[in-house]
């Protein structure tokens, strides 16, 4: 039986070593590397080619979100499983947009982590139930309000471009440079998009982009 090869990226030594012991107690899982920050995670993954990377979000040098983006760009076959104590929409939708296949909270039991690792290693998505519930609830609210398609159709081509770039994490300055327009024009587009889609925060905007399938998995 081929074991699932896992890299653990977490800046907290106690958590990292403890999780390693938990995973190594599983007959079908093998820990092939550890990393204490995002940069180290990229290097270890480049060297070990694991099936799954269990990635903390808040890490020094390079955070888990940026590391996930970089890893998915370089090694799209590696499945990223976010392992975090943060349950905020902002983190959740940004990590999905960055290409993560799963999101598990540290308040979960280790059995949930094992299930998640097995699921994402087979190309499936795993979301911790409380997080998945929020995603579904939000989706249903918007679908029931009948606002999805009509609102998006109302955006201009340029607004759709800006929407995608915002959701991918680009700043106004960065978008301005990419589209060769001024930052204030980007801000105008941004305000108009938020208004037309009835969105209040950047997290909601990212959520919207994920639902609409506007983001490439490697973006």
């Amino acid at each position: 039986m081929n074991k699932i090869r896992v890299v653990i990226a977490d800046d907290h030594t106690i958590v990292r070593e403890g999780v390693r012991l938990l995973l190594e107690a599983q007959p079908d899982i093998e820990v092939v590397g550890e990393a204490a920050d995002g940069r180290e995670a990229i290097a270890v993954i480049r060297e070990q080619h694991p099936d799954v990377a269990a990635m903390d979000i808040q890490m020094p040098n390079l955070n888990g979100l940026d590391a996930t983006r970089a890893i998915k760009q370089e090694s799209p076959q590696v499945q990223i499983l976010v392992l975090t104590m943060y349950e905020s929409d902002e983190y959740f939708f940004q990590t999905l947009a960055a290409g993560a296949s799963g999101y598990v909270l540290k308040k979960a039991a280790s059995a949930d982590l094992m299930t998640a690792i097995r699921a994402v290693s087979q190309g499936n998505v795993f979301l911790y139930p409380s997080v998945a519930r929020r995603l579904v609830s939000d989706y249903l609210t918007r679908v029931n309000a009948g606002e999805e398609q009509g609102s998006y159709d109302g955006l201009t081509a340029r607004e759709r471009e800006v929407l995608k770039l915002i959701a991918e994490g680009h700043t106004n300055q960065s978008i301005a440079e990419k589209l060769v327009i001024s930052p204030s024009t980007v801000q105008t587009h941004r305000t108009r998009i938020m208004h037309r889609l009835n969105l209040q925060t950047r997290a909601e905007l990212i959520q919207y982009a994920v639902r609409k399938g506007l983001l490439d998995s490697a973006s």
Partner: protein, 118 residues
């Protein structure tokens, strides 16, 4: 010298299970653990461990728990409370010391300090 007996209180279950594995590996006796603070406090009162290890993500939200634990160990020389701060990677040893957490041995050393052993 007998190793101190530990009770573990965790906010995050996965951390709880991970720390349990580490303590067992180090041969430290774990009397029990819980993620519910009320249940945990009752267990600490009943089991009377030498060390209470508290994993906490946020010092403020755990203020009441730490106060209750401080009252439990107050006046007992051989008892101590250690708060393991996940966010700041620090060990807070109530009330006496504050140590930098670098690796597992820091945690083991804090638990097994000579003045704690019964």
């Amino acid at each position: 010298m007998a190793l101190p007996r530990v009770y573990l209180i965790c906010v995050n279950r996965l951390v709880c299970e991970a720390v349990t594995m580490l303590l067992r590996r180090e041969g430290i006796e774990l009397l029990g653990m819980d993620t519910d603070t009320e249940t945990a406090l009752a267990q600490v009162r009943a089991l009377n461990p030498e060390v209470v290890l508290v994993e906490s993500g946020d010092e403020d939200t755990e203020a009441n728990l730490m106060l209750a634990l401080a009252q439990l160990v107050s006046g007992k020389d051989h008892r101590r409370v250690i708060r393991l701060g996940l966010a700041d990677k620090e060990l807070y040893i109530y009330h006496q010391e504050h140590r930098r957490l670098v690796d597992v041995q820091d945690l083991v050393a804090a638990i097994c300090a000579d003045d704690v052993s019964a």
